[in-house]
């Protein structure tokens, strides 16, 4: 494994977590048609409407993709939402997410992500050449410490 491979693994980790979480929810909720759920949560203070008989998590009012009201647990909503913010696989992307910050609200719902990305190759931007990860590796300006990508660029 090269350092570039290791950094690609950091990028792909979110996808692995997302896949595992979705798979777990599908297994735990065999009657749910996951691809038919629109993972909405209503209001600034979502109201708990019950307990999921499958996983025991809180349930909330939501919608299916036709707009019909349904009740879904937070685990299911979060699995669908996490899947929606996963990365394009590293072998199909010219940029890598080096620090994926999943945003979660105070009620435990995933609401989005801040992807901090760097190009693999150098790119010309309006202010000059944006060094790519390969160049940073060659210049010894990027390292991986405890799973975190650290750049010391000059």
């Amino acid at each position: 494994m090269t350092l570039l491979d290791d950094i690609k693994a950091v990028h792909d980790e979110v996808n692995n977590v997302s896949k595992a979480k979705l798979s777990q929810v599908i297994t735990e909720h065999p009657d749910l048609q996951i691809d038919k759920i629109n993972p909405r949560v209503f209001g600034s203070i979502p109201q708990v409407v019950g307990t999921c008989p499958q996983c025991g998590d809180d349930m909330f009012d939501s919608l299916d993709k036709t707009g019909k009201p349904i009740q879904v647990c937070r685990n299911t909503i979060n699995a669908i939402r996490l899947d929606s913010i996963k990365h394009k696989p590293s072998n199909q992307s010219d940029e890598l997410c080096i620090d994926c910050q999943i945003i979660t609200d105070e009620f435990g719902f995933i609401t989005g992500a801040n992807h901090i990305t760097r190009s693999i190759e150098d790119k010309a931007l309006s202010w000059g050449i944006w060094k790519g990860i390969k160049t940073l590796i060659t210049a010894n300006q990027i390292q991986l410490k405890q799973g975190k990508v650290i750049i010391n660029e000059s």
Binding site: P39, T111, I116, I151
Partner: protein, 94 residues
């Protein structure tokens, strides 16, 4: 961040900052801060981008933007240069 909550984020130095709401969530980016002259905030779909071009001659520090973002078309601050940062604030609307 629930509906009506504020979302704030800063990039790492000289990195892209991409804010992507999850499925079922929408937000409005209300301000952006960019250190580098010439770089502009963008809408981004994971492959293509469209620039909200303000000016080519000043830093586009916008304190009164209304850039709607969804899971499929979202927001990107492009890298600003060595040692320079980008940031944004948004309000979750759905």
């Amino acid at each position: 961040m629930a509906v009506d909550d504020i979302i704030n984020a800063m990039s790492a130095a000289n990195a892209n900052l991409v804010y992507q709401p999850a499925a079922g969530v929408e937000a409005v980016v209300t301000s952006t801060a960019m250190d580098s002259v010439g770089q502009q905030p963008e809408k981004f779909d994971g492959t293509n981008s469209a620039i909200h071009r303000i000016s080519q001659s000043v830093q586009p520090n916008i304190i009164n933007s209304k850039i709607g973002v969804t899971n499929t078309v979202y927001y990107r601050n492009v890298a600003q240069g060595v040692g320079l940062y980008g940031a944004y604030s948004a309000i979750q609307t759905k």
